[in-house]
């Protein structure tokens, strides 16, 4: 199939997916009993204040009308205004998203650059002592709940050894965040840990599978050294399933970011989402879900496109 055609089709589908997401999320949100007003305005609020709030936010209108209205403002690039934070949702996201991206992208990069070679190395050393050791380690890293791991790291590195600060960089701008690399260490490590564990497992499995392929034998017969066989052939063939996984990993990364942000006092998207959920701040909640879903859709799309680039077979599939 033509790449251009494919891309257009996928993009259209992506838009459809986002649309489904907004409908589902919107409906779910408004299916919640009680509505947000009482929670937002507090126990002392009067019935009038609640009614006024509902009217002002359009919550007293029928759901389809509200949805259409929401969609219309959305198309104008307006995500609404937070009920509680006194900010436009788009501004909030603008402030928080980059911070979370710094964290997740760094964690993902650190995680992947370690996980991929690690997984391959494990596969090559399959059933040797190192494989068992690394496997056990990655199992432990994987099975330690993130909040537990974070706490252990904080206990060890900030309270006992005092190597790193207990808080992530507190600056508002990215420049300020990057100005304090030491403070980034623990949050990034916490975020990367499970990533390393998961992806080294996937990579190990994929590599093992490919090592048994006949083409490996062919390459060896051509005099390629083990390292060359691994990097030139096995690596790329094993990478495809891992790339596919990466696309779906975006929401997991966000989920992880939430815990890391909580632990390290780093107000990013994860926390924004969390506190919006806690305080029934619908516009923010919707905005966050939208951002996360767009990111996920882009993630899967990118993963698919990269896969098409890496694996020509996917490109020419008939039907």
């Amino acid at each position: 199939m033509d790449t251009a055609l494919y891309l257009t089709r996928r993009l259209l589908q992506a838009v459809a997916v986002i649309l489904i997401v907004t409908v589902v999320v919107f409906c779910l949100l408004h299916a919640l009993p009680g509505g947000p007003a009482r929670g937002i305005l507090g126990p002392q609020a009067t019935a009038q204040q609640i009614a006024a709030f509902n009217h002002q936010q359009g919550l007293d209108r029928p759901l389809p009308v509200q949805y259409v209205y929401y969609l219309r403002t959305l198309l104008q690039g307006d995500l609404g205004t937070s009920y509680t934070l006194n900010e436009a949702v788009s501004r909030l996201i603008e402030q928080r998203l980059p911070k979370t991206l710094v964290l997740t992208v760094l964690s993902a990069l650190v995680g992947l650059t370690l996980a991929i070679p690690l997984g391959m190395w494990q596969a090559v050393r399959r059933n040797k002592a190192v494989d068992y050791a690394v496997t056990t380690l990655s199992f432990v890293a994987y099975s330690t709940p993130v909040y537990f791991l974070g706490l252990l790291l904080i206990l060890l590195f900030t309270q006992t050894l005092r190597w790193f600060p207990s808080q992530a960089p507190q600056g508002d701008t990215l420049a300020q965040v990057f100005a304090d690399p030491a403070a980034l260490v623990l949050p990034v490590v916490t975020g990367a840990a499970s990533m390393i564990a998961v992806f080294s497992r996937y990579m190990r499995a994929a590599t093992l599978e490919n090592l048994d392929e006949d083409y490996v034998r062919t390459a060896r017969a051509g005099g390629s050294r083990p390292g060359a066989v691994l990097w030139r052939h096995v690596f790329r063939n094993s990478l495809t399933p891992v790339i596919a996984m990466l696309g779906y990993y975006v929401p997991v990364l966000f989920g992880g970011a939430l815990v890391v942000e909580q632990l390290f006092n780093y107000p990013g998207m994860g926390l924004l989402f969390w506190s919006a959920a806690q305080s029934s701040d619908y516009p923010v909640l919707l905005g966050c879900v939208l951002v996360i879903s767009v990111a996920t859709v882009i993630g899967t799309l990118l993963a698919d496109v990269v896969q098409r680039i890496v694996d020509p077979r996917v490109r020419t599939e008939r039907t």
Partner: protein, 547 residues
Amino acid sequence: SRDSINYALPANFTPNWILPIGTPAHLNTNNISIANTLWEPLVAYDGSTGKIAWNKAGSLATAADFAADNKSVTITLGDRHWSDGKPVTSADVKFWFDLIKANKTEWAGYNPGKAPDNWTSFKTVDDRHFTLTFDKAYNPQWMLANELSLINPLPQHVWDKEGDAKKDWTYLNDAAKNISGYASNPLWKTISGPYAVKSFSTAGKVVLTANKKYDGGEKPGIGTVNLLPFTTADAEKNALRSGSVDYGYIEATDLDQKEQFTSQGYAVKPWSGWAITYMPYNFENPAMGAVFKQLYARQAVQRSIDQTSLAKVVFNGTAVPGFGPIPQGQSSDFLSPVQKSNPYPFSTDAARQLLTDHGWTEQGGVMTCTEPAKCGEGIAKGTKFEMQVLSQSGSTVTDNMMSAIQSSLSKTGIKFAIKTAPVNSVLSQTPPCTASQSICKWQLSFFGTAGSWYFNAFPTGDSLFQSKGGSNFGGYSNAGVDTLISASTTSSSNQAIQDYSAALAKDLPVIWLPEPVYQISVIRSGLGGFSQDSLANFHPAQWKWTS
């Protein structure tokens, strides 16, 4: 750091409002505290001096003279100036008054029938004197504490751009919607309080700097005040442990680590709130409403709750048992002896007795109504004493308390199911309702991890326990109590409110629970010269480095 202080804001709170007037969504305790350090209130009726009283040093008014009939008050303003040098005059108060009058439904402090509805007129006597007239006679202490304390003189000469109260309201509120302008907008430069905003980040960090032009009685003691936001209490505690916070907090469960903090040069001081804590019954609930309406049933429930042990064990001794509608953490003239002495002490045996006396028999571990005639009106045969609470999530202490309550209730034969949700969700899902509404399925509600209800200085129960009261979630209704409540606000003696205290302690409109402290503060030694305001506001101007 002797000329600055780092104050930890409560977890998951970011300051986001500067204006002393606004909607309930914006005017929460912490935003009000910040606003009040910029624009001093007319009457600072609070707990900042150690007991709840009028703190004249922090007020713009110097005197409030009630007429003999208690139907009006004349207030005298001090000789004070705005930071731009203009004097503070009656016109500034009038400006506030007009704004609120015209926009009362949007205003956070509004309650139908109360201020400004019961203020019939504002009369300017001169630049420093004005008279407020009421619709009837009021208890002056109540009026001062609960209504006049709401007034916040505003710089009319700068803020009255439109000359129209409605438009000004909109103009000011719109201006306040731009957080990034808080430090730069000239509008916010004309202040009367001890501090000015130096920076106000959208992420929540606020830096206050002493107002050089301040001519009031509460001179700022520390040049720079940093208000720090924290994502979670744990994050805050980590910051405390690493010493980057001067005034922070811990949780009740952390109290056994007190030494760790004291050895780091901190003092640990509980900050008690002027509040009560309870679980409302939903008297309108189709399944259990009829049972809740029976006093003996409520007594059985109340007697199954061991407040003393809860306060001591679950709250690590920081909470105070509460038996009625008046806060018991502080001594006050409002508390009746009946409430104080706990009319329904803990005894699951007595509670069982109450139920078996009224036609309930334990079946399979749960009390079941077997003699409907004795059970009471509307309780069918076979009704099981099973109730569900929707409880605030996110606090270990609350979870533990609920477990303990569940356990002791089960000893009485009452099944108590717990469901948890974020506090906002609890509030939304347990509103006042009528039996036919689908939202009326809730039975018990708990939103009091840090205290259910914070009172104004005068602890009236008007919106709480009055029939159809705005915050009377469970639909409690008792004509006798209604009378006592209105008496407490109008009569000038404290007997009325004591009677009210006694009546509700006996009638159990809700399940009374121990009152936790507002927070357990951890304060760097050397920081002193202030009391923690039980109305839960903070007053940076009172903070001083003493050593």
